[in-house]
Symmetry: C2
C-alpha cells in the first residue's frame, strides 16, 4: 500500500482549553491580573480541573500567565519595559528570519506575499481592521515558515504571542491614514525582499518591526 500521511488529531481537551484561554487573553476578555481559578474555568468549559491545569501550565511557559505557588495563576501584567524587551529581541530574531527566508526565496512566495499585501490594501480601504490584522499575521507567519528554522519560528512566534493583546488593541485604534501606511510598509518590505539583497532586507524588516514597536509603545503610554 502507498505510504499515507499519518493523521494527527492532537485534539486534547487541554489543548483546546489552552487555545481558548489564549484567545480570551488576546481579545481582552481576561484582563491582566485576573486570577485564573481552576474550578471556575473548568465549569465554564464544562470539563474537569485536570485539562485546565495542563492548559494553565502551557500558558505559564508561554509567559502569558504567572503562577504564585499555592496561591494560583494570574494573567500576566505586561510592563512597558517588557514590551521594549520583546521588541528588541524580535528585531534581532526577525533579522535572522529574513536572512534564512531569502535563501529559500521563490517567485511563488513573492506572489503569495504580494497577494496578501493586495488583500491588506483592500481591507484597509474598506476599514476592516480585523481582516487587516489577520493578513498582517499571515504575512509574517509566511516569512517565519520560509526560514525553515523550527526553533527560531518557535521562539519568535512565542514572543509575538506574549504581546498579542497589545497588538490587537493597538490595531483597533489605527486611523485610516495609519492603515494605509501600514499596508505600504508591507509593500515596501516585499519590494526589498524581491531584490534579494540580504543586508538591505534585514535592515528593512528591522525598520518594520521598530515601526510597530513605536506604534505599540505610543498606544501603551496612552493606557497609563
Amino acid at each position: 500500500m502507498q505510504r499515507l500521511e499519518p493523521i494527527k488529531q492532537s485534539e486534547n481537551l487541554s489543548d483546546e482549553v489552552a487555545r481558548r484561554l489564549r484567545r480570551a487573553i488576546r481579545e481582552g476578555h481576561l484582563k491582566p491580573g485576573t486570577h485564573l481559578v481552576e474550578q471556575d474555568i473548568a465549569e465554564q468549559f464544562r470539563v474537569s480541573r485536570m485539562p485546565v491545569r495542563i492548559a494553565i501550565q502551557k500558558l505559564i511557559d508561554e509567559g502569558l500567565v504567572i503562577k504564585e505557588p499555592r496561591r494560583g495563576a494570574y494573567v500576566h501584567t505586561f510592563s512597558s519595559k517588557e514590551l521594549d524587551e520583546v521588541y528588541s529581541i524580535r528585531v534581532a530574531l526577525e533579522r535572522l528570519v529574513v536572512q534564512y527566508a531569502l535563501s529559500n526565496w521563490s517567485d511563488a512566495v513573492a506572489e503569495e506575499l504580494e497577494c496578501i499585501v493586495e488583500r491588506m490594501r483592500q481591507a484597509a480601504s474598506a476599514g476592516d481592521r480585523q481582516a487587516g490584522f489577520e493578513l498582517d499575521s499571515r504575512f509574517h507567519a509566511i516569512l517565519w515558515e520560509l526560514s525553515q528554522h523550527a526553533i527560531l519560528i518557535e521562539v519568535v512566534s512565542s514572543l509575538r504571542s506574549r504581546i498579542s493583546r497589545f497588538l490587537t488593541e493597538a490595531n483597533d485604534v489605527l486611523s485610516p491614514t495609519e492603515l494605509n501606511m501600514h499596508v505600504e510598509a508591507h509593500q515596501h518590505l516585499v519590494n526589498v525582499l524581491k531584490q534579494g539583497d540580504v543586508e538591505r532586507a534585514k535592515d528593512a524588516v528591522a525598520d518594520h518591526i521598530l515601526d510597530a514597536h513605536e506604534r505599540i509603545r505610543a498606544y501603551y503610554s496612552y493606557l497609563d
Copy 2:
C-alpha cells in the same frame, strides 16, 4: 515592624520532578528517544502520576521533550540542524545581552568575573572538567543577569538548556590544551568587556559563542 523579604517556598512536587528529569536528560541518564512513561517515573520518585504529568508538560514547553498525542512523551532527539539553529539564535541574543550588560557594568562585576576566570584557571590546571563547566555556566549567567532583561534571560537560558546535554558531554572530552584555551577565551572576553566598547564587546561574545558552536559541532559529528 521592619519590612522583611517575603518567603517563597516554590517547592511543588512537580517542580522537583521537572528538575530531576531535566538533570537526568542533561547528564545522559535519559537518552534521546526514551519513552517517558508516567507510571514508571511516578513510581521511581514515589509520587503519583499527577506531578509527573505537570513536570513533563514543562519539559515539553522547554523543548527537551516532545509529545505525540495519546502515545506519550519522548526525550527529544536533537538534530545537528537544530544545534546550529540554537547557536545562531544564541549569537544574536548574547550580543543583545552584552549590549545591555555593559550599561550596568561596574568594577564589582569585573572583579567577580575575573574571580571566576581565575577559579576556572585553577580548575583547568587541576583537570577538573566538572568544576570548569559549572564556572563557565556561572560566568554567562552573571552576564545574563547583568543585562537586567528578564525575557531575554528567559529565552537565552532556555536555549542553553535545550543543548545542555551536548554541552556537558562535549565538556567531558576536552583536552588539557582545550581547557586552557577555554579559560583564556573567557579572560579575553572580560578584558574586552572592561574596555567598555559596546561594539567590540558584542563581537567578542559572538566569537566566543561561535567557538563553542564549533567545538560542540565537532563533538556532535563525532557522534554520528
